[in-house]
């Protein structure tokens, strides 16, 4: 019983961190631009595919494949922002609708280009580690989890500690006034959307070896990310992490002790509970 319990707990935490990373990109974009990027999951998937193609089909070492994939998604993100999001500034609902349509387009595009099968870049590391003599845990999972923590920390520092972070928040709140402070708002918006997408890409690259990508898997990624967003509070980075952990742990124990069939529903139940108790999310600010 005990070893099982620790196994569930460990797996819950690892999955939680992975979820948090998957949600980080959307959370960032919501936080700084008030735009929900529905196509988040698809960008994640694309990054996975790119790293797969580079490393499996073209034989490029994953040390190079990873940055190339992230960079590509960054550029795609910028293109999306310039072509689709820019005209919608100030109209949150419209950007939501546009990115929703975009996500459907990208899904079907991926289906045509990559086919319906899952694709998996090679593991960075093989084997499994015996955890405290209680159970074995896949090494790749542990390494991906560490990479996720690393990325989360970098993003935190970037947003909380640099001028760039402050600047993007200013732009998100009042474009015109920000430009009166000498900020080139178009550039900042472009970069911050690109950054959010790049984080989605980074998540895709880091997680593809454990969870191979399929064209439709983006939907799940986005859904989990959105649940985390609402639970944690829109745009709050801390909320994103705590929300991810809650979902990871609850899913793990729920699947273990209640039912694996309803695994995905546990997240939703938490969501409803949170909305009852604190409508603006755990870390959300209450709007006036």
């Amino acid at each position: 019983m005990n070893s099982l319990f620790f196994m569930y707990l460990t797996n819950g935490i690892v999955m939680g961190i992975i979820f948090a990373l998957s949600a980080l990109g959307v959370s960032l974009i919501v936080g700084i631009m008030n735009v929900i990027n529905f196509a988040h999951g698809e960008l994640y998937i694309f990054a996975g595919y790119i790293s797969y193609i580079l490393s499996v089909k073209l034989g490029i070492s994953f040390y190079f494949a990873i940055p190339i994939a992230i960079l590509t998604i960054f550029i795609i993100g910028i293109l999306i922002e310039e072509s689709l999001i820019k005209p919608t500034y100030g109209n949150d609902m419209y950007s939501l609708i546009i990115t929703f349509i975009l996500s459907i387009v990208l899904q079907n595009f991926a289906l045509l280009v990559f086919g319906p099968f899952p694709n998996k870049p090679p593991n960075w590391i093989s084997g499994a580690t015996n955890m405290f003599g209680l159970f074995r845990y896949g090494n790749q999972r542990l390494v991906s989890c560490l990479a996720a923590i690393g990325i989360i920390i970098i993003v935190f520092l970037l947003i909380k500690k640099t001028w760039f972070g402050k600047t993007i928040r200013a732009v998100s709140q009042d474009r015109e006034t920000a430009s009166l402070m000498g900020i080139d708002t178009s550039k900042v918006n472009m970069l911050s959307f690109g950054l959010g997408c790049a984080i989605a890409g980074a998540a895709g690259v880091v997680l593809a070896p454990i969870f191979p990508v399929t064209p439709l898997a983006g939907v799940e990624i986005s859904l989990i990310a959105f649940i985390i967003l609402v639970i944690g509070g829109m745009g709050s980075l801390w909320g994103c992490i705590i929300g991810g952990l809650i979902i990871g742990i609850v899913q793990s124990f729920g699947a273990a002790y209640i039912s694996s069939g309803y695994k995905d529903i546990f997240g939703f139940i938490i969501l409803i509970l949170v909305l009852f108790i604190r409508p603006s999310g755990l870390f959300g600010r209450k709007a006036l």
Binding site: W163, K166, T167, R169, A170, Q173, D174, E176, T177, A178, S179, L180, M181, G182, I183, D184, T185, R285, L288
Partner: protein, 234 residues
């Protein structure tokens, strides 16, 4: 320092400013006065590059800035207190001030300037970790002024400086402005309180339905009958 030459400004289809020209010299406080809807804020917006003139030029230190985007203009050393304040609602007072010092020339003296603003408005120091959007109306106005000062601008545009400020604060502020001028900042002031503006400016222009109708030194305008009647209710 700044020279506006015969500009025509439109908002959408409607023309707001007709052939407006004026100039501000270095180390001068110039007031633009006029009734509601005369186009004062529009004028400020066009200097800042938020609106571009259809014809005419705006020259700032020998550069034509009439077609440049606003972030580039502000980087040249122009700052403003916009009408309606436009505080960054979800950022703290401190962060608002820091953003004011965004431009490269202002960043080195960031800490010094923050201290200066806090001296000017002690209440800002008390509220420094409060979110901008939750400040009272007058506090927001102080923050907007402080934020503009953070960039140590060469030219400061003030749209409705005294809006919502307690009389005492307004008096202090006007004194500060005069000090600033003496320290080599040029100031363009838009005010409703004509009497007060004239008491503290060097020169003034009157804008009436989109056209400059009268210009002159403060004393000249003070004694102008039309102005006394239409704007000062005397």
């Amino acid at each position: 320092m700044l020279e506006v030459q015969n500009i025509d400004i439109y908002r959408g289809e409607t023309q707001i400013l007709w052939d407006v020209s004026f100039r501000i010299n270095q180390k001068e406080i110039v007031a633009i006065l006029g009734a509601n809807g005369a186009g004062k804020s529009t004028l400020i917006a066009s200097i800042l590059g938020l609106l571009h003139p259809v014809s005419g030029k705006i020259i700032f230190r020998e550069n034509d800035i009439s077609k440049i985007s606003s972030h580039a203009i502000t980087r040249m050393g122009i700052a403003c207190v916009p009408e309606g304040r436009h505080i960054f609602q979800d950022m703290t007072v401190l962060e608002n001030l820091e953003i004011g010092a965004y431009s490269k020339r202002a960043r080195p003296s960031l800490n010094k300037n923050i201290k200066w603003v806090f001296d000017l408005f002690p209440i800002m120091n008390e509220r420094k970790n409060q979110l901008g959007g939750t400040l009272s109306g007058g506090e927001q106005q102080m923050l907007a002024i402080g934020r503009a000062l953070m960039s140590k601008p060469d030219l400061l545009l003030l749209d409705e400086l005294s809006l919502g400020l307690a009389p005492k604060i307004t008096i202090d502020l006007l004194k500060t402005i005069e000090t600033l001028r003496d320290e080599n900042t040029t100031i363009l002031l838009v005010e409703q309180n004509v009497e007060m503006a004239l008491n503290h400016c060097d020169r003034s222009y009157i804008l009436e339905t989109g056209k400059i109708s009268i210009e002159g030194t403060a004393q000249e305008l003070m004694s102008n009958d039309h102005i006394r009647k239409a704007y000062m209710g005397i």
